[in-house]
């Protein structure tokens, strides 16, 4: 049986999509979903126990999805969300199912000024374990296009969900992901975010709501190019005791602006939370604003944060040059090192893939 995804992407688009982690051969993936503008180009699960469907199809097929999940994560936060969406995926990992190979998806912008607005729902049922890698990218021709991605995650009792999102836009694209993860008792939610290419304007503040004994980790790597604004944060709300969370970010400004937010909000006792934000400003014109926030009214919590922003030090450059490395190469090495894929919570295979993607991206970007 051939697993290869049939598609009609031209070479350029295909290369781009590959660089957001999509494996067209599906050899290392357990399920796939591809949407271009509003068209669902592909969706297929290769394993029992994983459902992957266009959201509209899933809502038609299972009315209970609407009752149980649709809009419910936002409701938990009393937050409004745009309703006029077209497409998006429904992914469900069935109870107790442990999936080794990642599930993959790609949301692609193809046409000029197109406004893509999708609504995704991801459910990891009780005791399930899975990794999802999702790429968002745009074709060269998609000038001034717009992407809105609404994602609702439901990590049910004792489930583990690891979600990695790689963005690869163009410098005139505006992007607005909105995500909320509801994590039930004993569940773990991991979010990894990588954006190393230009994007005109991106704003996101994904939020996880944790029940008793849950864990959440948000890690992000971002590089801001001239005339780009990245306003990126992560928020964890602790509703019950015994939960822990970590937010880690690395932001590089190559002339653009980064606002790196982090918000840890304990509405219960017995919480452990840490926030770490490091920024590197490479050019004179760049700007990084770190806004770490810790909130609680309980005494019995262990919450901390560290934030550090700096430029590349002369000592570091001298050090590498004294080892025979020319100045420009030394600078790229330091930046490449700073954008450290090891801070992401990824299984070994995926970490290697992402490391390679970062190499390729930063090689051309620096």
């Amino acid at each position: 049986m051939t697993k290869k995804i049939n598609h009609n992407f031209n070479q350029e688009d295909q290369d781009k999509i590959k660089k957001t982690g999509l494996d067209f051969s599906q050899k290392t993936r357990s399920a796939s979903f591809i949407q271009q503008d509003n068209d669902i180009l592909f969706n297929k699960s290769l394993l029992d126990g994983i459902e992957i469907e266009p959201i509209e199809a899933a809502l038609n097929k299972y009315p209970q999805i609407k009752e149980k999940y649709y809009g419910k994560a936002f409701k938990e936060l009393n937050k409004e969300y745009p309703k006029e969406t077209v497409g998006g995926y429904f992914i469900r990992i069935k109870k107790g199912k442990k999936v080794e190979f990642p599930i993959q998806s790609c949301l692609f912008l193809k046409n000029k000024k197109f406004k893509q607005k999708v609504h995704n729902i991801i459910v990891a049922e009780e005791g399930a374990q899975a990794h999802i890698i999702t790429g968002c990218a745009s074709a060269k021709a998609a000038e001034e296009a717009y992407h809105l991605g609404i994602s609702e995650f439901f990590v049910e009792k004792n489930a583990y969900l690891n979600f990695t999102m790689i963005h690869r836009w163009e410098k005139d694209i505006e992007v607005k992901p909105m995500s909320v993860a509801i994590v039930s008792q004993g569940g773990s939610f991991v979010s990894n975010y990588i954006c190393l290419n230009p994007v005109r304007d991106i704003k996101m503040y994904p939020t996880a709501v944790l029940a008793k004994d849950c864990k959440a980790t948000f890690s992000s790597l971002m590089v801001a190019y001239p005339n780009c604004i990245q306003d990126i944060g992560s928020r964890v709300i602790f509703k019950e005791p015994g939960a822990s969370a970590e937010i880690i970010s690395r932001a590089v400004s190559l002339g653009g602006e980064v606002i790196a937010r982090g918000d840890l909000d304990s509405k219960a006792a017995g919480i452990k939370a840490h926030l770490e934000c490091r920024g590197l400003i490479v050019t004179e014109t760049g700007k990084i604003h770190a806004i770490p926030e810790l909130k609680t009214k309980y005494r019995d919590v262990d919450m901390s944060h560290e934030a550090a922003i700096g430029k590349i030090s002369k000592d570091e450059i001298n050090y590498l040059r004294a080892r025979g490395i020319p100045k420009e190469e030394a600078q790229s090495l330091i930046i490449r090192g700073f954008v450290d894929v090891n801070i992401l919570a990824l299984p070994e295979e995926l970490r290697k893939e992402v490391d390679k993607l970062a190499d390729q991206t930063l090689e051309s970007g620096l």
Binding site: N318, A322, R323, G324, I325, P326, K327, R336, G337
Partner: protein
């Protein structure tokens, strides 16, 4: 005897202040020179000037390496000519693992064979996955530094206090590795020492003392060191026994 490094009349300013003054120094091929001197006398500045770091401004004099004046060359050009330095206080570089960095250096110097045996002799295998100088102990930093500079395979090694902050066991380990490397490849080294422990492992007849930015004494290392041990650098100040390296 052929010199590998020849410094004449060197004056170096740091932030407008002269730190080295009309300094002369020679290092012969296949020979090691130990440089003693109190804190702040300008030893690290000398190394910075030989490497050509920007903040060390040479206002007079020449530095010849293998017969070629290297003033005006960038630090990386000097390194590629064959000058290798082991830093006294190397900076932390996050996200670059020792392993990756050594790959890069050994590719550049075509020196991949020795890599593995050096990892063994310097007891570094457990540090290969660690970021450069991040959260390492004093001894670990120095061993990693020595490893890097040896993989570079320089013709001249500049070692800035290789034994400071290192326990005796690790000094022995490094001293032996260094000594055998220097001998095997017939290299030259300038070794800055504060404690003198390194003398046990690096056999050489040549040492000098730096005082207030000048090299002021050339003699047998053990002799100078026992003097320093008994009376400190006080005596050096009066004894301006200048002579050039004894040939």
């Amino acid at each position: 005897m052929e010199t590998i490094l020849k410094i004449r009349n060197l004056t170096v300013e740091v932030e407008g202040k002269a730190i080295l003054r009309n300094l002369d120094l020679d290092i012969a091929k296949n020979q090691n020179l130990i440089l003693f001197g109190p804190n702040g006398s300008g030893k690290s500045t000398l190394i910075g000037a030989i490497m050509g770091f920007e903040n060390y401004k040479v206002t007079s004099g020449t530095i010849e390496f293998s017969g070629k004046n290297i003033i005006g060359l960038t630090p990386d050009q000097r390194a590629r000519l064959g000058i290798g330095v082991m830093f006294q206080h190397p900076p932390k570089i996050r996200g670059i693992q020792l392993k990756q960095f050594i790959e890069l250096l050994s590719d550049k110097s075509n020196n991949s064979k020795e890599k593995d045996s050096l990892v063994e002799t310097l007891n570094l295998s457990y540090l290969l996955d660690r970021d450069l100088n991040v959260d390492l102990s004093g001894g670990e930093i120095k061993r990693s530094e020595l490893f890097q500079v040896l993989v570079q395979r320089p013709k001249l090694l500049l070692l800035d206090e290789p034994e400071s902050g290192v326990d005796l066991e690790n000094i022995a380990l490094m001293g032996k590795a260094l000594n055998s490397y220097l001998k095997r490849h017939k290299l030259s080294a300038l070794i800055i020492s504060h404690t003198g422990y390194i003398l046990e492992y690096i056999k050489t007849k040549y040492a000098c003392v730096m005082l207030e930015g000048k090299v002021c004494c050339h003699d047998n290392p053990t002799k100078i060191f026992s003097e320093i041990k008994s009376v400190g650098y006080e005596r050096c100040k009066d004894c301006r026994c200048r002579s050039g390296i004894k040939k």
